[in-house]
């Protein structure tokens, strides 16, 4: 196994080159640090670039501050130092060009599926019939057609996260931020989700920032992985898995490139356990 091959910097997917534009990152994180009120230093001078139209994963041991970083990018928590640029503009709070998918789904239990999906549009003042039409389209897109008038407690965990995903897609944000979105669903659903996510990245033309603690999941879905160290967190490596993703999604899990990258990351991470 050759880790350096896995860490080459050429993206592998056959996306058309962006015409007339340098491959500019859609999200830039510049020496972000975060110290919590109790003096706990979560992030220490993290700098990262997130390429447009790709899926970039923040991967690291539990409690390493990857969710903190994601929420700083989302504008939900202020950073102690440094800045985040989205599409060239500095982040000062949440914005319409970013949408968030929550680990615990964060659905309104008193609202139907369609109202949950349309919630972002409702907050923006989009007219009722228009936002319901948009929501219906995205509900169908995530495979929940027919469940529009159901309530979250009538759905399984996997279906609830589909609602959370549809809600994030409905606001048509350029950047979708996903905080361990599949960690609360069962393994079969999780694999199905991972396959669908690849399809989404390939077809939606959006940029995805994904947080997970699962090495396999990260390698399976990511174009680029930022490996974070233990607290106070730094970027310990940038890895771009060279995996051929066309064709059978099941094949990837047996692909030798896939297995090699998983192994390489495991070797890097295992010393954090000692």
């Amino acid at each position: 196994m050759n880790p350096s091959a896995a860490m080459a910097s050429q993206p592998n997917r056959d996306l058309p080159p962006l015409p007339g534009r340098a491959p500019q990152p859609i999200v830039e994180v510049r020496s972000i640090s975060k110290t919590y009120a109790g003096g706990i230093e979560a992030l220490s001078g993290i700098s990262l670039e997130f390429p447009e139209g790709r899926l970039t994963t923040l991967l690291g041991p539990s409690g390493c501050g990857k969710t903190t970083l994601l929420k700083i990018i989302a504008g939900l928590i202020p950073a102690t130092g440094g800045q985040v640029l989205v599409d060239g503009r500095e982040v000062t709070g949440p914005g319409p060009e970013r949408a968030f998918v929550f680990q615990d789904f964060a659905l309104m239990p008193w609202a139907s599926v369609i109202r949950n999906v349309a919630f972002g549009l409702e907050l923006r003042g989009v007219a009722h019939s228009e936002r319901e039409a948009i929501a219906e389209r995205h509900i169908a897109r995530v495979g929940l057609k027919g469940f529009e008038r159901k309530y979250p407690h009538e759905l399984s965990g996997g279906m609830r996260q589909r609602v959370g995903l549809a809600r994030a897609l409905a606001v048509d944000a350029k950047v979708v931020l996903m905080d361990e979105p599949f960690s609360a669903v069962d393994e079969q659903t999780r694999r199905k989700f991972q396959e669908e996510l690849l399809e989404l990245v390939a077809n939606e033309g959006k940029s995805f920032i994904f947080v997970t603690h699962s090495i396999e999941e990260a390698v399976y879905v990511s174009d680029r992985i930022a490996l974070l160290s233990r607290r106070p967190s730094r970027v310990s490596a940038i890895i771009e898995p060279q995996i051929q993703r066309g064709g059978d999604p099941e094949k990837i899990r047996r692909d030798s490139a896939y297995l090699d990258v998983v192994e390489a990351i495991w070797q890097q991470l295992r010393h954090y356990l000692d």
Partner: protein
């Protein structure tokens, strides 16, 4: 309840006690506790009288006004306490104090300050019903999942939207339970207030019936009030169940 294979309706227990009451009314105790049948007869006799309807109007108005104030002040106060640590620290001891204090003892104080009129009765109602509404609303607000609040923020909600679309709904089951408990306490409040002032509404009637030893009238009036409190509680409980579908799923 099932006894020897026969399913008894919920009201069966009430029927048993009604029979016990009727029998007791025909013994020597009938002097103070007349038979139920005669009391019920009296209910139909006194309800259409002008003095009863007059008392009902005055009482109903004080009751409604007092509850409206208790809800209008109690819910925002509870939300404030649930959201702000400083407000909570400042106010929680008082709310707990008033919730457990023997409030009847305070009514004479209100009487001295606001006279023997409607104001005193309304304030007594507020005093009885508001604190449990505050406390329940506070609990509902504190139990809101932080990720739901983050969700609203991340999709661009302003403060008013977060309040009206998330906080209020998330805490609604607790708020409604608080209002139900508050309204039941308010029935106590309005009657105790009127009894202590004794020249207003049902207070006057109770006073007349007792001083003339009209026990049947006295019990009839009491029966009407009990039925009123019971019905109100049931109606509000039904409203609560309407919104309860998501209470357990939050």
């Amino acid at each position: 309840m099932v006894i020897s294979g026969i399913r008894l309706p919920m009201m069966a227990a009430l029927l048993v006690w009604a029979v016990v009451w009727e029998i007791a009314g025909h013994t020597d105790a009938g002097f103070i506790l007349p038979p139920l049948s005669r009391i019920i007869w009296r209910v139909f006799e006194i309800v259409p009288t002008a003095s009863f309807l007059d008392a009902l109007l005055i009482t109903g108005r004080a009751f409604l006004l007092g509850n409206t104030i208790a809800i209008a002040v109690g819910v925002p106060l509870g939300i404030l306490m649930g959201r702000s640590v400083i407000a909570d620290r400042l106010l929680l001891p008082w709310v707990n104090l008033f919730l457990s204090a023997p409030l009847s003892a305070l009514v004479p104080v209100i009487m001295v300050l606001f006279g023997l009129g409607e104001t005193t009765i309304v304030l007594t109602v507020v005093l009885f019903s508001m604190w449990i509404i505050v406390l329940n609303t506070r609990a509902g607000i504190r139990a809101i999942s932080p990720s739901l609040v983050e969700m609203a923020r991340s999709f661009g909600s302003n403060r008013w939207q977060a309040f009206s679309r998330i906080y209020l709904w998330a805490a609604l089951p607790e708020i409604l339970a608080g209002i139900r408990l508050g309204v039941v306490r308010a029935v106590k409040g309005v009657v105790i207030g009127q009894l202590l002032v004794s020249v207003v509404g049902f207070g006057t009637l109770f006073e007349i019936y007792q001083s003339h030893f009209l026990m049947e009238h006295f019990w009839a009036l009491l029966l009407v009030l009990f039925a009123f409190a019971f019905t109100l509680n049931e109606l509000l409980a039904r409203l609560e169940r309407r919104f309860g579908y998501y209470a357990a799923a939050r």
